[in-house]
Structure formats: C-alpha cells, structure tokens
Amino acid sequence: MTAPVTKPAPRIVADRLHSPLRRALRSWEAILLVVAIAVFIGNTLLSPYFLNAWNLSDATFNFTEKAMIAFAMAMLIVAGEIDLSVASIIALASTAMGLAMTAGAGVPVIVLVGIGTGLICGAVNGVLVAGLGLPSIVVTIGTMSLFRGIAFIVLGDQAFTGYPPEFAYFGQGYVWWVISFELVLFAAFAVIFWAVLHRSTFGRAVYAIGNNATAAAFSGIRVQRVRFILFLLTGVMSGVAAVCLTSRLGSTRPSIATGWELEVVTMVVLGGVNILGGSGTIPGVVLAAVIMGMVTFGFGLLNVPGIVMSIFLGALLIGVIALPRLLRRG
C-alpha cells in the first residue's frame, strides 16, 4: 500500500500483424482464383469450342443474372440473414412487367415496374424479418411460396409474350462486340457492391451485425434498419435480374427461374461467404460466379447431362470448403 503510484509507458501496439500481400496470398480468393484458372485450362483442353470469343460471351449468360442477386445475397448472408425468396421475386416481378406491358406501358415503365416489384417484395421480407423479428430463413421459405403463388394466380397457365422489341436489349443486347449489356451490368454491380461492402460505413455495419448483432446494437448501430435495407437491396437486385431474364426469354411464365435461390446461395457460399454470417467478400463471389458459369458451360460443351454438372458443383462446394480444413488438420 505504500508503493508509489507508477504509470508505466503504454505499450506500442502495431497496426498490422501481417502484410496485406501475405493476407491476400493466404485468402480464400486466392484458392478460388487457382480453381478458376484450372477450370479455364481444363475447359480449353477438353473442348475445341471453348476458346472462342462468342462462345465465351454466350457462357457469361449462365451466371450474370444469378450473380447480380448473389452480390446482394452475399451482403445479406454476411449480416447473418438469408433470402430464399429471390427466385420467386423474379417470377412476381416478371409477371408485373407482363401486366404493365399488356396495359401498354413503354420500356422505361416496364423496367421500373420490374424493379419496383422487387423493391416491394424486399420490403415485405424486410418488415417480417427486421420489423417483426422473425427468422429470415423461415420467413423467406414462406414468401418463396407466396410470391410465386401470386404469379400463378395472375397468370395461371397463360404466358405474357410480345414485349416491345427494344425491351430485348437488356437480356440480348451487346454494348460492344461480344461484351453484352448483362456482362457490363454484372461488372458495374460487382464494383458498386465491392465499394459498399468493403469500403463504406454501411458495409462495416453489415459485418458488425453478422459477427454479433447484440454488440452492434449496443454500439449505436441501427441493426434493424440495416437488415431492412439489405432485404430491400436483395429485392431490388432480384427485380433487376427479372428485367434481364424476362428480356432474354422475351416472355413471362410463373415458373420462371425455378430453383435459382439455391444456385445463388451456392454461388455465395462457394465465394467464401460464411453461411453463418460475419465474413466474406465480393471478389470471392465474383470468382465463384465465373467458376460456376464456366463449369456449367464447359460441361455443356461436352454434352454432359446437367445433373452430372450439379453433382460436380455439389462436390466442388463441399470440396473447396473441406480442403483447407483437411490441410490444417493433416
């Protein structure tokens, strides 16, 4: 008790433990990049048709629309939520566009209706999850049936056809040479989502919520608002995808985009986003989208049935995640 008051000099804490380069080399994205290159080389060796600008361009349609949703889904999953209703939102948005078209709306209005419907569907999910505090996986299993169900009520066994010719641009148009409009849109969204998730305050809030929502709330973050916005965003991106897909198909059926929700989730998880929330990156999702697109296209060139393709993707999904864990143990 008699010892004098001492105040030792604070310790110096370094900013970084490892250099950014070392981090990048050991990252998930590095593994994915290797896989992507391997798939590319494999495809080139296996099929003489692969290395062709137009064919590669056609191949991008296998993933661009799904990837646009996957970007928003990635943020949602990083925040610890999930949206299984995305494919149904596409169906409903496409139906709404069809209604607008039959009512004589022009292309801009049709597009707005599609995106707007996505926004409304996202808001419904958002209110149920963020407003009422219901678990998102269950809510969106419900809205998955609800949204597509409404599309079925409207359309029944009918289809909307006869979209204006200019409308075809979104899903079939080319900006320059083999660069399609969808591919440009995909790249633009990749950059936007990268900036938002990795460089903005909103993105930081998303990570905080995904790691510990309670602590995030205790840090002055408006958790429910962020969650709501994320569902809105996913709805809007589904709406955008609906515009592209409807334009590409030139018609609307209520069964459009069946099963896409699981493909989008697979893409996100393959991209290294932790399904339990808290971590994951947009570059990872971009690479995963490219890998999935190239694998399906490559298999298609060899006329391998789609289901064998999905076995391969299923194994890839488990394999890529299992491998680092196996290596760490062994």
């Binding site: 099929s47 048709y49 692969f50 062709n52 137009w54 064919n55 056609d58 191949a59 349609f61 296998n62 079925f152 029944g156 066994d157 289809a159 056809t161 075809a168 899903g171 079939q172 897909l245 590409r248 198909l249 030139g250 018609s251 059926r253 209520p254 069964s255 459009i256 985009a257 069946t258 099963g259 896409w260 399906t296 296209f297 298609g300 060139l301 006329n303 049935p305 789609g306 289901i307 999905s310």
Partner: protein
C-alpha cells in the same frame, strides 16, 4: 463431315423421350452420315433448355430439334441459333413460329383432343362426370389438346367435364390431385390424363382407392408403363403415338432441311423416311400420324417395345 443433329428433350430420363432417342439413332444409322446428340436439362425448365441450347450453338451443330418446355421463352435463343446458320425445328411440344423453321406434331392436335374424350366416352354409354389431370399448367401441347377436347365436347352428349387439375408431371402431386378429384366429385366416372406421368399416377390412385371398375383412367400413356393398369382394369384403354417414330421423323426432317433437300415453307413436303412425308400447313406445322389406341387386346404386343 457428319451432320450433327441435336435432339433436345424436355428433361432427361423420361421414358417417352428415351424412346424418341432410339428412333433418332435408328434414323442416323439409316442415313449413315449423321451424329445424334441426345440432350436436355435435368428438370423441365425453360432456363435449363436455354443453357443446353447455348452450348449446342457453341459446338456448331447443324440442326437442333427441340421439344420445348416453354413455347415462348426459347424463342430468342433459338433465333440466335438460326442466325448462326443452324436448322431449328420443334417436335412434340412446339415453339412459337418465330423461334423455329417448322414444327412436327406427333399427330394433329384436333385429333388428339377428340381422341382423349372419345376414349372416355366409349366406356360411358350413359354419359357421366369426367375430369382432366394434366401436366404442368404451362405445358404447351397439353393445353392445346385440352382446348381441342373442350371444343368437341358438345359432340358427346352426357359427358360432363367437371374439372381440370395439374399434377406438374410429378408422380406424388398427380396422385394427390387424383385423390382430390375422387373426394370432390363422388360421381366421377373417368379421369383423363393426357400425360404419361399423370395417367400412371391416376391409375395408381384409383387402384388404391378400390375404385377399379367405378372410375376409368384414360388418356395418353406408354404401353410399357400402362401394362399393369390395363391388366388390373383401372385403365380400359389409352392412346399414344409411337415415340420411336416421332424421334425418327424429327431426325429425318432435320437432315433433309440441313442438306437442302427441302425448304421449310407453307405447303412444302418434307421426307420422313419410312414415315412418309410431312406436309407443312400455313403455320409451318405438320402432323406425323394418327394416335393409336391400346387396350387389353394389343397391349402385350407393345409393352416390351416402348
């Protein structure tokens, strides 16, 4: 250089299409310089077919003969194929005219519509309630046949169509829909299923409900699959065209179009090998042959073939 003809089906694994593929191979063997690519998605979606068609375009096949899951959604992709010089025809389930050069109906739609009602009416001299159990609500050909069937209903007095339900070509859903029909319409006398999955499930449901003899299941089915139902009496008769012939004919037509032996325009006559010639109507459609009715008297003869 072989002529590459791609036979794109609604989904792989369906008995009907497997039989059609056999017919295509038969045609290829006959022609000698043809390579058949038999392909299709895993489940019956338009998006799946588009991916398959895209990769066929990339491989530079000479012809694509498709049985479509969606008459409209395939149009832009098939148009792209045609732009790249590929011969595109549809068969069995059609594509909208702007997406193909011609369409080969297994039979004439009016004839099929009439046949499915007639099959039911033949065993209902006093008339009675009948219901239709279809495939998915978006299935092109089923919808056309049902439309044709409703048109000819007035010719069958006493036959009362009470409902049309959809089993989505899923065995369990079709089964449940059939059960629902029986529960809802106690006086039901016949279930008409113009789809091979539906007719099979419905005859099973009728058998399980112990209503053989009370409710007759009929429609379109494959002899190999329906043999049991005919034997048990759940199905008195059903019809189908020969899918082997259909695959054969589609291949022959594709070949002739690729080789320039014929052009796809109204009134044109295109050779179908042993199936004769197809004559295109105003909509560039042709019918292959009449549907053939199977019952206890002839089923054993066909059940091992397809």
């Amino acid at each position: 250089q072989d002529v590459k003809i791609a036979l794109v089906v609604k989904a792989l694994g369906i008995g009907f299409f497997e039989a059609a593929a056999k017919g295509a191979e038969e045609a290829a063997a006959e022609l000698g310089d043809v390579e058949i690519i038999y392909t299709g998605p895993t489940d019956t979606t338009a998006e799946g077919q588009i991916e398959v068609i895209n990769s066929l375009i990339a491989q530079g096949v000479n012809a694509i003969a498709v049985s479509a899951n969606d008459r409209d959604a395939l149009v832009p992709t098939l148009q792209k194929a045609m732009e790249r010089g590929i011969t595109v025809i549809s068969w069995d389930s059609g594509v909208a005219p702007e997406g193909r050069m011609m369409h080969l109906n297994p039979s004439s739609n009016a004839l099929i519509g009439n046949t499915i009602i007639k099959l039911a009416a033949d065993h209902l001299p006093e008339g009675g309630d009948v219901a239709i159990l279809s495939a998915s609500a978006t299935a092109t050909n089923q919808n056309i046949w049902i439309e044709e069937a409703t048109k000819v209903l007035p010719n069958y007095p006493g036959i009362n169509l009470v409902a049309t339900v959809y089993g989505d070509d899923l065995a369990d859903k079709s089964y449940r829909e059939a059960q629902g029909l029986m529960a809802t319409y106690p006086n039901l006398k016949a279930i008409i299923a113009p789809t091979t999955v539906g007719i099979l499930a419905a005859s099973q449901a009728v058998t399980d409900a112990g209503k053989i003899g009370e409710i007759n299941v009929t429609g379109l089915g494959l002899p190999s699959e329906m043999a049991g139902a005919v034997a048990s009496g759940a199905t008195k008769s059903f019809a189908i065209w020969n899918p082997i012939d259909l695959g054969y004919a589609a291949t022959m037509i594709s070949y002739n179009l690729v080789k320039g032996n014929a052009a796809a325009e109204p009134g044109a006559e295109i050779g179908m090998g042993r199936m004769g010639t197809a004559t295109l109507d105003q909509g560039n459609e042709a019918a292959m042959s009449d549907p053939f009715t199977y019952d206890a008297s002839n089923i054993d003869q066909f059940k091992s073939i397809f």
